[in-house]
């Protein structure tokens, strides 16, 4: 199947996904379930990765800016900017593409090959809306929260690493964290987190929804979902950066 055919089918699926739900109370309940499955369940891994990511960033900054020409607080400043602008929204979203994307593709793909999606259709339920919309709504709501937590934790990790290794004095790092702060940077990070969240679930959902065959094909759909949503994140990262920062 050609790339353009995939794009056309993806757009057609998204049009189905955003049709009016049959019963809003059921969809609302589904959204809360998905917030737990796709959002809260990812909190642990996001915190763990963010701490170490921030710590490594701070140590690398300290190593590279080890010159009397650059003030020490620059390490805190550069760590914060790297975390807000790139590491938390993009790297964490790439990791979530693996965790959340594979879950969405394999869950929907398994439902397809076991005829559960056909069963929904036969009941008169718009299966695309029922299965994909609550997941999209959940991650659109929760991904910005995850990314905000990641930003805070990564900066804390950087401060901790700098202090514990003695490479950056605590006061200098904290001064750097507060220096030249622009709220627009956080807005940029949150816009990216929302767009990436949509890409992860919609692309993985697309691959799951059109799975054909059996267990092997579900695995393939899961892999494609992760790979394609990761590629989309990388491409849209450039587009959004160009649109919002250039």
């Amino acid at each position: 199947m050609t790339f353009m055919m995939h794009i056309g089918r993806y757009i057609r699926l998204m049009r189905l996904v955003f049709k009016k739900p049959e019963k809003q109370s059921i969809y609302l309940r589904q959204i809360f379930i998905e917030i737990e499955n796709l959002g809260l369940d990812s909190l642990g891994i996001v915190i763990f990765i963010s701490i170490f990511m921030g710590a490594v960033l701070a140590i690398q900054m300290a190593f590279n800016l080890d010159t009397p020409l650059v003030p020490v607080y620059t390490i805190g400043y550069a760590t914060r900017q790297s975390v807000i602008l790139e590491f938390s929204p993009t790297i964490i979203s790439l990791i979530l593409a693996g965790k959340v994307g594979s879950r969405v593709s394999s869950e929907i793909g398994t439902m397809r090959v076991t005829e559960q999606i056909d069963a929904l259709e036969i009941m008169g339920i718009n299966s695309a809306t029922y299965l994909i919309f609550p997941k999209i709504a959940a991650v659109l709501f929760f991904n910005p929260i995850l990314i905000t937590i990641s930003i805070i934790v990564a900066n804390a990790g950087g401060w901790l690493a700098g202090s514990l290794t003695g490479m950056v004095p605590s006061a200098e790092f904290l001064l750097g964290l507060r220096a030249f702060f622009e709220a627009y940077d956080v807005f940029y990070a949150l816009v990216k987190s929302v767009v990436f969240a949509f890409l992860i679930v919609s692309i993985s959902g697309y691959h799951g929804y059109y799975t054909k065959g059996g267990a092997l094909e579900v695995g393939e759909a899961s892999t494609k979902g992760v790979v394609h949503s990761s590629i989309a994140i990388i491409v849209f990262n450039l587009i959004l950066t160009n649109l919002l920062l250039a």
């Binding site: 049959e22 019963k23 059921i26 036969i122 009941m123 718009n126």
Partner: protein, 249 residues
């Protein structure tokens, strides 16, 4: 009544259904039989609109399915119950939630009313004390019963069963057949059953349609099928050594 008129369906260059015209009567078990790969499941999926047909039309009473919009088709499908070959139960839901699901989606019934209806449907298929079990904890026969209970929960006018007793032991298969027959007569439904089980044909075959190489090859009922002189049908019906010996072939 459900009617298929000149239905043709191809996948790529392979014509799976070739100009099939058939009427399925209300209040009776309409059995579609044929060898594996003959096109039975494709015909059923065309009838319920899961596959788009290339030519012809499918008519539910006076409504043409193939001309309906997405929303109109959704409305008609609320009158359809379907039992899938693999049961297709929602594996994240318990038995009672599977049965209550269409009620929760399309009615304004309270939880108590839905539960009452689910319990009625489950008792109708002789399945008690299984409400809280998950599909993974059920046997094949129990899954079929739950799927039937879910299919009848909304009081459908049309019931489709795709190989309802495949993978079941002869006794359980017979129980499921009789259950479908009873439900069909009790609720005056138009029931279409795909099978290649001759025991089902003899047990409940009010109307029998034999599909061969994508064409409607023969039609009759359980009383006439054994006396047919159609060679392809006889090849299918008397496939085993024992039955061929009895028939004198």
């Amino acid at each position: 009544m459900i009617e298929a008129k000149n239905v043709t369906k191809s996948f790529g260059d392979t014509k799976v259904l070739d100009n099939i015209s058939v009427k399925f009567e209300t209040g009776r078990c309409n059995l579609v039989i044929g060898q594996s790969g003959s096109g039975k499941t494709v015909l059923m999926k065309c009838l319920v609109g899961l596959f788009e047909i290339d030519e012809g039309k499918v008519i539910y009473d006076d409504k043409v399915l193939s001309r309906m919009s997405f929303d109109e088709m959704k409305m008609v499908r609320q009158d359809i119950g379907m039992l899938f070959q693999g049961s297709a139960l929602f594996d994240s839901m318990t038995v009672e939630h599977n049965v209550m699901f269409p009620l929760a989606m399309f009615t304004d019934q309270s939880l108590e009313e839905r539960l009452e209806r689910a319990n009625f449907c489950l008792s109708r298929v002789n399945l008690v004390n299984a409400n809280k079990l998950l599909p993974a904890e059920l046997s094949g026969g129990m899954k079929k019963r739950v799927a039937i209970a879910r299919a009848i929960a909304m009081n459908p006018k049309y019931l489709f069963c795709d190989e309802p007793n495949s993978g079941l032991d002869p006794h359980t298969a017979n129980v499921i057949d009789i259950l479908i027959k009873e439900i069909t007569e009790e609720y005056d439904m138009t029931t279409v059953i795909n099978t290649h089980d001759m025991n089902s044909v003899i047990e409940i075959g009010d109307r029998v349609f034999y599909i061969h190489t994508g064409k409607l090859w023969w039609e009759g009922n359980k009383d006439t099928i054994l006396d047919s002189d159609n060679p392809e049908l006889n090849e299918f019906v008397f496939a085993t050594k024992l039955t061929r010996k009895i028939k004198g072939l």
